[in-house]
């Protein structure tokens, strides 16, 4: 009898394409994607963005600056800083993962360490990595040209942030909120498939109007649910770690509504495009895992390879996570927040429109 049950399970699996995909296609695919991302974060593919300011303008510092710029494991920022204040600001705004200020000639008698590495606590690993690379490059320079080395050579500092909570706590509030926004929106949107299969949706007016009612009502609910869900995460972050969103509450709410709209739209599009619950479930799981990994819900984007960091800007999770982080950690300007919110809302509305169009076409009269 046990074998009979086993046979039923086996036949059911073989005849259910969604379950087959979930069991045997998605795991290797997800593995390849995760391995690419996570292996790179611990390996030599990490290419931190560095801003270099050579205030000393000595022969040695010019050589060192050139060596840093040529170093393949580092990327240069598009803008070259002209002052220490600008260098700090670039790090604070996240334009650079770390700043290198060559403030004095290392070959002269030391009054203070001639190289200052400026980091951000939100990217705690970036400054030590850059400091190590600078020391290595200086060592190579020293060996090649016999330059005398000041001691100590390098000093590190962090740009100050207004937030009281640890940077990782702030980062993961947004990152985890995005992960679960997608999960719960996908779960909620599945009702669209059930209602199509039972004929409930046929009780709505025919054609585009009825499709608009079905998609619009679910979209509003999922946005509302997402806002409450995200508010709970930030409330707990506030109570336990002192993460404060009250000083810019309206902008936090705007990001949250945008993020919830994005998740709702995406989930409804998946539910509208899928023919069965199994198909939708497989597609939803795949999308949530991949978007979360690439978008930065699992590891911060700055630890990803450069090409993946660039590619991740195509993923809406990244817009929301960076917007939350910018708002709470870096005190980012309102224009940056507005851009992220605009993109999120546009994505959510666009995806919902796709769901509506699919449904309207299916029920066209």
């Amino acid at each position: 009898m046990i074998l009979a049950v086993l046979r039923v399970m086996l036949l059911s699996l073989v005849r259910d394409r969604g379950a087959l995909a979930m069991a045997f296609v998605l795991p290797p695919l997800i593995y390849v994607i995760f391995a690419t991302i996570f292996a790179a974060t611990a390996g030599d593919e990490v290419r931190l963005r560095v801003a270099v300011l050579d205030s000393a303008d000595a022969a040695v510092t010019r050589q060192l600056a050139a060596a840093i710029r040529a170093e393949p494991s580092l990327r240069q920022t598009a803008t070259a800083p002209q002052s220490r204040a600008q260098l700090e600001q670039m790090v604070r705004l996240g334009e650079a993962d770390a700043g290198v200020w060559l403030r004095a000639d290392p070959s002269l008698p030391p009054t203070e360490p001639p190289i200052l590495i400026i980091g951000d606590a939100a990217r705690a690993m970036a400054a030590p990595i850059v400091a190590g690379q600078v020391l290595r490059l200086f060592g190579e320079l020293q060996a090649a040209s016999g330059v005398q080395r000041a001691s100590p050579l390098v000093e590190r500092m962090e740009v100050t942030q207004a937030a009281r909570a640890p940077a990782a706590v702030i980062y993961y509030a947004g990152a985890v909120a995005m992960l679960f926004l997608l999960f719960s929106a996908m779960h909620g949107a599945m009702s669209l498939i059930d209602e199509r299969q039972s004929g409930l949706i046929d009780r709505l007016p025919a054609g585009a109007v009825g499709a608009g009612v079905a998609v619009g009502g679910k979209f509003l609910f999922l946005v509302l649910q997402g806002v409450v869900q995200t508010a709970l995460i930030f409330l707990i972050a506030g109570v336990i770690w002192g993460v404060d969103v009250t000083s810019r509450l309206a902008e936090w709410l705007a990001i949250t509504i945008g993020a919830a709209a994005m998740a709702a739209g995406l989930a409804l599009a998946v539910a509208a495009l899928a023919r069965t619950r199994a198909q939708a479930q497989a597609l939803a799981n795949f999308m949530v895992l991949v978007l979360s990994a690439i978008g930065g819900s699992m590891v911060p984007r700055f630890l990803m390879p450069g090409w993946l960091q660039d590619a991740s800007w195509l993923v809406p999770n990244a817009w929301a996570i960076e917007a939350y982080h910018g708002l709470i950690w870096r005190d980012a300007p309102s224009a940056d927040i507005a851009t992220a919110v605009g993109l999120l809302v546009a994505f959510g509305v666009g995806a919902s429109a796709l769901a509506w169009a699919v449904l309207a076409r299916e029920r066209r009269m």
């Binding site: 209602e195 299969q197 039972s198 004929g199 409930l200 046929d202 009780r203 709505l204 007016p205 025919a206 009612v213 029920r363 066209r364 009269m365």
Partner: protein
């Protein structure tokens, strides 16, 4: 069958030359049909005959490839009862009906009265606050129908409204349909329950491969097809062996889908049950029952399918 209450001679539904195709496959092949107020019209046919497609077209849920469907007023005048239970399982009966009344386009002020009316009609008032998913199949069927009556449609289209429920629940649904008929609602229903169709339908149409092959009042169709013939039903204890089959066929009997059941027709005056039984027993057949009966809608249905060469 009760007499039709055709108080309104103007058809509430008129289907002309209905054709519908999914790609190259035609599921409706030129159907003409009309249903009057206070009439129950039963669509019969094997699976895949096109019944559901035709009903979705009448209900305004599907656009025909060609041909037309005209209903009494506008599309709101048509109520559609899907085959599956199309209500929210986690809502109570009342909550479901209130939500579905909004879907049907009722204004807020009219919803409570409308919900109370349909619950009373379907004897659901006592269950108003029960979660739908916890109701028995019969009560869920009633809610399913009520949900399509909230806007008091002139035409009600029902796709197998009594499938999967017990006789008591079926009778309750029949009672509800009869009430609607009395009030002048035009009802179009599909069913595989031919006893039900014969009992409650004023007219039936038999569809095969997207065409309506015969149409009319059940008694008239049966008379026209069989005249004075009676149906002879032979139930065997064991399937007939190859050498016994000719004996059955010689008596004008044909096997049905059930191998133990053979059916034939003959004028009543020529049927001699004792002689027939003896003849079959002489051929070595073990008879469980020999019955003579008046042909019914099931017999008509089989005859239409045989004529059409349907499997």
């Amino acid at each position: 069958m009760s007499a039709p209450a055709l108080s309104d001679p103007v058809p509430r539904v008129v289907v002309q030359g209905a054709v519908h195709a999914y790609g190259e496959r035609r599921v409706l092949n030129g159907v003409d049909l009309s249903v009057k107020a206070g009439e129950i019209y039963g669509l019969l046919g094997p699976n895949g005959a096109g019944k559901t497609t035709l009903m979705r077209a009448i209900a305004g849920r599907l656009r025909l490839t060609s041909g037309s469907v005209r209903t009494a007023d506008d599309r709101r005048a048509v109520g559609y009862v899907p085959q599956d239970i199309a209500v929210y399982p986690h809502l109570t009966v009342r909550e479901n009906l209130e939500v579905l009344a909004r879907f049907a386009g009722l204004q807020a002020g009219a919803i409570k009265a409308s919900v109370a009316r349909v619950m009373a009609d379907a004897a659901l008032s006592a269950r108003a606050d029960q979660i739908c998913g916890t109701l028995s199949g019969g009560f869920q069927r009633r809610v399913n129908i009520c949900a399509s009556l909230l806007h008091d449609p002139a035409v009600l289209v029902l796709d197998e409204p009594t499938v999967g429920i017990d006789i008591e629940a079926r009778d309750a649904v029949h009672g509800l349909l009869q009430q609607l008929r009395q009030r002048g609602t035009a009802l179009v229903l599909s069913t595989h329950d031919l006893d039900q169709a014969e009992l409650i339908c004023d007219r039936v149409g038999v569809m095969v491969a997207g065409r309506l092959l015969v149409e009319g009042a059940p008694s008239a169709l049966i008379s026209a097809t069989f005249g004075e013939d009676q149906e002879v039903v032979i139930a065997l204890r064991q399937p007939a062996s190859d050498h016994q089959v000719p004996a059955l066929m010689a008596e004008g009997l044909a096997v049905t889908d059930a191998p133990l059941l053979w059916i034939g027709r003959a004028p009543a005056r020529t049927i001699n049950v004792a002689a027939l039984s003896q003849s079959l027993e002489d051929a070595g057949l073990q008879l469980r029952e020999v019955r003579v009966r008046k042909p019914d809608l099931a017999a008509l249905f089989r005859a239409v399918l045989d004529r059409a060469g349907a499997p």
